[in-house]
């Protein structure tokens, strides 16, 4: 099951953290911890609503340092197995949590899978992020920078 999402349309990142699995689990599930690492550098996380049950809501908002840019994502938890496995969906949303339409042929929904494993008191974490459509507005400021670039890269390559 964990291998099925490994494709060109998925990111898989493995990391080892110097902390037991319950601490790393808390990084993803406790808003106070989550807010300390998730946002782009300098961004604040005014909202992190994490309802930790299957079907429970997960909504996060990020705000740029000058307050001019606010981005939210919303989704639900698909699997919640404390300290070992967390799966949730994610879609771009407005500040009220309404999913923003992504256009035809675009799922607009992505799936994040976090698997934690104890390795002698440390934690091996494997993240899989699958199914983000290429032209979706992303969850961070990088995408704004790339919107135009992506457009003209195609032109340059062809020309």
């Amino acid at each position: 099951m964990s291998d099925s999402t490994v494709s060109e349309d998925a990111i898989v990142i493995e990391r080892v953290f110097d902390a037991p699995t319950d601490i790393v689990w808390g990084m993803w599930t406790e808003p106070d911890h989550f807010k300390n690492w998730y946002g782009p550098q300098g961004f604040s996380i005014p909202l992190a609503e994490i309802e930790l049950t299957v079907g429970g809501k997960r909504m996060v908002c990020m705000e740029s340092p000058d307050g001019t840019m606010k981005m939210c994502t919303t989704g639900e938890h698909l699997e919640v197995t404390p300290t070992s496995r967390l799966v949730y969906t994610e879609s771009m949303a407005d500040a009220d949590g309404n999913v923003m339409p992504m256009g035809e042929g675009n799922p607009g929904r992505t799936e994040v899978t976090v698997i934690l494993e104890d390795v002698d008191g440390r934690t091996k974490m494997v993240l899989t992020h699958a199914g983000v459509p290429a032209d979706s507005p992303g969850a961070t400021g990088w995408n704004q920078a790339f919107d135009k670039l992506t457009d003209y890269v195609g032109t340059v390559v062809k020309g």
Binding site: E8, I13, R15, F17, D18, Q41, L127, V132, F146
Partner: protein
């Protein structure tokens, strides 16, 4: 992998500036001299040259060696690499996990201080 990350970081850093993105956008339409690139900006030639150097180091543009005009041209290869969503998000997640690592180390340090 490391060197690939470094190269990507360099590309991202070069792109994280509106003037440099505007320069690239201009070059996407065709080659241009430094003078031509400087025109739309309210900037001195040395300031523009600095931006061009950054883009050149990131491999995003090349500057001709011949002729006194030394026109700049865009090189799309590094852009292609970061234009896929997987590369963008990989970068985002890697940065997030760097911060998570820092934060966990802070927590570990606090705990040690209490002991």
């Amino acid at each position: 992998m490391r060197s690939e990350d470094d190269r990507l970081s360099q590309t991202f850093a070069a792109l994280a500036n509106t003037t440099r993105r505007a320069i690239l956008a201009r070059l996407a339409e065709g080659e241009a001299t430094v003078n031509e690139l400087a025109e739309p900006f309210n900037m001195t030639l040395p300031a523009i040259s600095k931006h061009i150097k950054v883009l050149e180091r990131a491999g995003l543009i090349t500057q001709g060696q011949k002729a006194q005009y030394r026109p700049c041209t865009i090189d799309a290869a590094p852009l292609q690499e970061v234009s896929t969503w997987t590369e963008q998000y990989r970068h985002i997640w890697e940065e997030r996990f760097d911060r998570m690592d820092d934060y966990i180390n802070q927590l570990n340090q606090k705990e040690q201080d209490h002991e």
